[in-house]
Amino acid sequence: MSEILSIDPEIQLPEKITKKLLAAKQPTWCPGCGDHSILAAYFKLLEKLQLPREKIVTLSGIGCSSRFPYFVNTHGVHFLHGRILPFATGLSLSRPDLHLFVFSGDGDCFSIGGNHLDHTARKNPNMTYLIMDNTVYGMTKNQTSPTSPKGFVSKTDPLGSIDEPINPMKRLISSGATFVARTSASNIAHVMQMLERAEAHKGFSVIECLSECTQFNKGSFEGLNPRKGGEFKIIEEKRFDGTPEDEARHDVTDEVAAYRLADESWPGSFGVFIQKDRPTRSEASAAINERVRNRNPGKTDRDHLVDAFERFS
């Protein structure tokens, strides 16, 4: 009895996650850059969630957005341009106990990493993926990005861009991602709300977050900023309460309705476009492993190898 009551001095109380604890290097983003707000929202989220710090991983690709992990005091990865999704998929599948937060930009995600986006969505690994979309290449100093609007003047389109921009929401909806939301760094409370929903969602949760580049794209997002005379139109989600006003609300499981929202003219709507239940890849793989392992109960890894070599002899 006395043994049970005695307190082991080695046992550490769980760390309290605070913004102070989480702040690492001073962000190197330009003053006024939208990315500062996203970092602030991320800190707030982690303060609220109080996950074990050592189980949080902050990951990124390449670009202004992707400097993110250096400013956060958790395990972090600053990977290659466009390749963070397969990296994070590998990490998520081999370590389902971890909490993955992946930060990326419009170039990282829709241009050089475009192929990986669709295939990550197919696999539905458990992670939160936030795309910081400033519609310009900022780190390399003002070139056209895949989300730059037509006519955008940059160093690579001095006479205005002529290629059709990607519509991120259409792209994400058709990828089959199980959680797709849109927000803007100009509305921290909404970013925080979307991050929280995304983190709580089981599977591949993607948020497109507009984030103004004050250097090369100043004023481009004023149309969605009420302080600048714009409108931040928030999606009303269906409550399934049978009321007549519920008819007009958005059903997050309805891809066609989500696509219609994505087709609205600039600046469009903000909020959750898609939220669907589908097993994560970790769950699907675990089910296969369990099925296979149940065929050979009690066998160790070494037994399986010995068996395999029996088959070859």
């Binding site: 990865v77 050979n296 070859f312």
Partner: protein
């Protein structure tokens, strides 16, 4: 008549198999089941080794037959090595399979055949040149006309294979020739043909009953083939090896080597000739509660495997030449961030799409140097199928100890080649994977300037409260980005230092023969066998030569210079182009490391593994 006889035989076999199905394997070996029919001619001279070349079309199942015969040879206590070509098309086209079976250790699949089995006239015409003078030709009398094709002195046996199968199986017997030949050859060779039925049925167990029935019938027709008059003498001497051997192909050996080295995670994209490694791992790893991912492309495969390794589970990505090139960006990151990783490159003919189903050793330099910046990699090459298995353990140990990507080179020749070798000693080879989740002390430094990097995977608490960011940017010891000149030089030196340590830890390469003299042949990877056999043959003809085999290609042991300098002539034997400087890729590397510019190459790019006689001829012509 034939059918009736076969039926009786079948009943006997089924009964026998039932009797011993549950018996332990040792028991099955001790209880010698009497053969159904005594050997017709027992007092013929027995052979030390036999090389058989099977030539037909791919739909004849030549490959499955050859691999079953190889397996049977292994199970009968012989050593065996095979060689095959895969036609570029899925069905149709010439298909060959060559087996060398014997009591001695087999180093190559054989330059020439003692026996040629030809199913069609064009297979006969294409391959008769590879039959030894006075060799045995077995051909299908329905499709082959050996007169005028087979040289004088050839022992020709035109057998009614198609006709026999048509009467045994009914209708137009398109299938079954392979099983007929399997039965016939295993009886002629004196292999343990009581095991042949079990073997064949293992292969076809997923097929429906009518197929299995035909397999049995064809097999028995071959086993019981009535030779009128003389019969070919290819009976092997009594086996000298343990029946405990495994008979395995190179790609399977890599897959199981990885598992026994503790690898439970990986990611790949299908590419010839590496694909079967990922197929085996996808099939096997669920048993070990691991996951192998098929990704959308080669880049994603490398990135996913690095993500797995970052999580603390050493992972692998497998590929061939073009895929290797696509992984280079990721390998650069793994070098910079110092992430342990295994990369298997099953080399094929290049450049570009090249000749995907043929062999080359032309990825050595890209494996070492093929990335941006100063980022060489550890490269090991397997010399045979057994080493495809064994090398994985060493590669995994290096990757973990030095926190670095390690490339394992195999090639198309090894990938499908079947060899029999002794079962591994599991106490030596089995490594239990262990995920490091230990807390790190307050003075933990992710990238110490004067010691090897040992990462703290996520899940590890860091005593200082300062968590590391693994990065491809040049970084300081605490993993913060730092482009400063002094820092870049310090960290470049840190990354260089581990190669120095590894170079010092690498033993001097294996040598056969004197350590000085007129002629030294240096092999790497699968050119080992033919080179060794060439040196042994020269020795037997009174010509002196030595053989050095390099297993660790990078870092290359610099001290080999002392040996190289003591030889008048030094040749590397490698399957690539010797280029405008007369040096293949290994020779180029050796010259640059040792400064020995008398190193030249015996190199070729015909897509085939070296024949012993090709090496001897190249030396004679030099």
């Amino acid at each position: 008549m034939i059918k009736k006889e076969l039926l009786i035989f079948e009943l006997f076999i089924i009964k026998r198999s039932d009797l011993f199905r549950d018996a332990p394997s040792w028991c099955r070996r001790i209880i010698q089941i009497p053969k159904f029919k005594p050997q017709a001619n027992l007092n013929v001279s027995k052979k030390q080794e036999i090389t058989i070349r099977l030539a037909g079309y791919s739909q004849d199942g030549i490959q499955s037959m050859g691999s079953l015969l190889a397996k049977l040879a292994g199970r009968s206590g012989y050593r065996v090595m095979t060689y095959m070509t895969i036609p570029a098309t899925v069905a149709g086209g010439n298909s060959i399979y060559q087996l060398r079976i014997g009591n001695r250790s087999i180093l190559t699949p054989g330059d020439e055949a003692d026996v040629l089995v030809a199913l069609y006239q064009d297979s006969l015409q294409s391959h008769i040149g590879l039959l030894k003078a006075g060799g045995i030709l077995l051909c299908d009398s329905k499709h082959c006309q050996p007169d005028g094709v087979a040289p004088e002195g050839t022992q020709v046996y035109a057998l009614p294979i198609t006709d026999l199968l048509e009467s045994a199986l009914g209708g137009h017997a398109m299938k079954g020739k392979n099983m007929f030949l399997l039965g016939m050859l295993s009886r002629l060779l004196g292999l343990d043909d009581a095991k042949v039925e079990d073997l064949a049925l293992e292969r076809f167990r997923k097929k429906d009953e009518s197929v299995i029935q035909n397999v049995r019938t064809a097999l028995m027709a071959g086993l019981e083939y009535e030779w009128s008059g003389r019969r070919p003498n290819i009976h092997l001497d009594d086996p000298k090896h343990s029946c405990e051997a495994v008979t395995m192909d190179g790609n399977s050996a890599v897959a199981y080597g990885l598992i026994s080295a503790g690898v439970r995670y990986g990611a790949s994209y299908p590419i010839t000739p590496a694909t079967s490694i990922m197929e085996v791992l996808i099939d096997e790893l669920p048993k070990y509660n691991g996951i192998f991912l098929q990704t959308e492309d080669e880049l994603a495969a490398a990135a996913a495997a690095i993500g797995m390794s970052y999580g603390g589970n050493l992972a692998v990505t497998t590929t061939s030449g073009p895929g290797m090139s696509l992984k280079m960006e990721c390998l650069g990151w793994a070098t910079m961030a110092e992430m342990p990783l295994l990369v298997v490159n099953v080399q094929r003919g290049g450049p570009s799409t090249g000749i995907p189903t043929q062999v080359e050793q032309s990825d050595l330099l890209q494996s070492i140097y093929g990335s941006h910046g100063d980022a060489p990699r550890v490269v090991l090459a397997a010399r045979d199928v057994e080493e495809c298995f064994a090398i994985c353990k060493d590669a995994a140990a290096i990757a973990k100890q030095y926190s670095t990507p390690v490339v394992i080179l195999s090639d198309q020749g090894l990938s499908t080649r079947i060899e029999a070798f002794d079962k591994p000693d599991w106490n030596t080879f089995y490594v239990e994977p262990k995920l490091d989740q230990e807390d790190r002390p307050a003075d933990f430094v992710p990238y110490p300037a004067d010691a090897l990097t040992h990462h703290a995977p996520p899940g590890c608490r860091i005593g200082s409260g300062r968590y590391p960011v693994m990065t491809g940017l040049e970084h300081d010891t605490l993993s913060g980005p730092n482009p400063g000149a002094a820092n870049h030089m310090t960290m470049t030196a840190k990354r260089r230092k581990k190669f120095q340590m590894l170079e010092e830890a690498t033993p001097m390469p294996e040598m056969l023969g004197d350590d000085k003299g007129d002629l030294l042949l240096i092999s790497w990877g699968s050119s080992f066998g033919a080179t060794r056999e060439a040196v042994v043959r020269m020795e037997s003809e009174g010509k002196k030569a030595s053989h050095m085999h390099l297993r660790t290609l990078y870092p290359l042991k610099r001290e080999i210079r002392t040996v190289l300098e003591r030889f008048k002539q030094v040749y590397t034997v490698e399957l690539n182009d010797a280029g405008i400087y007369g040096a293949g890729q290994l020779a180029t590397l050796i010259r640059s490391v040792t400064g020995c510019d008398h190193v030249r190459s015996i190199a070729k790019t015909d897509g085939q593994t070296f024949k012993v006689r090709e090496i001897l001829k190249a030396l004679a012509d030099a």
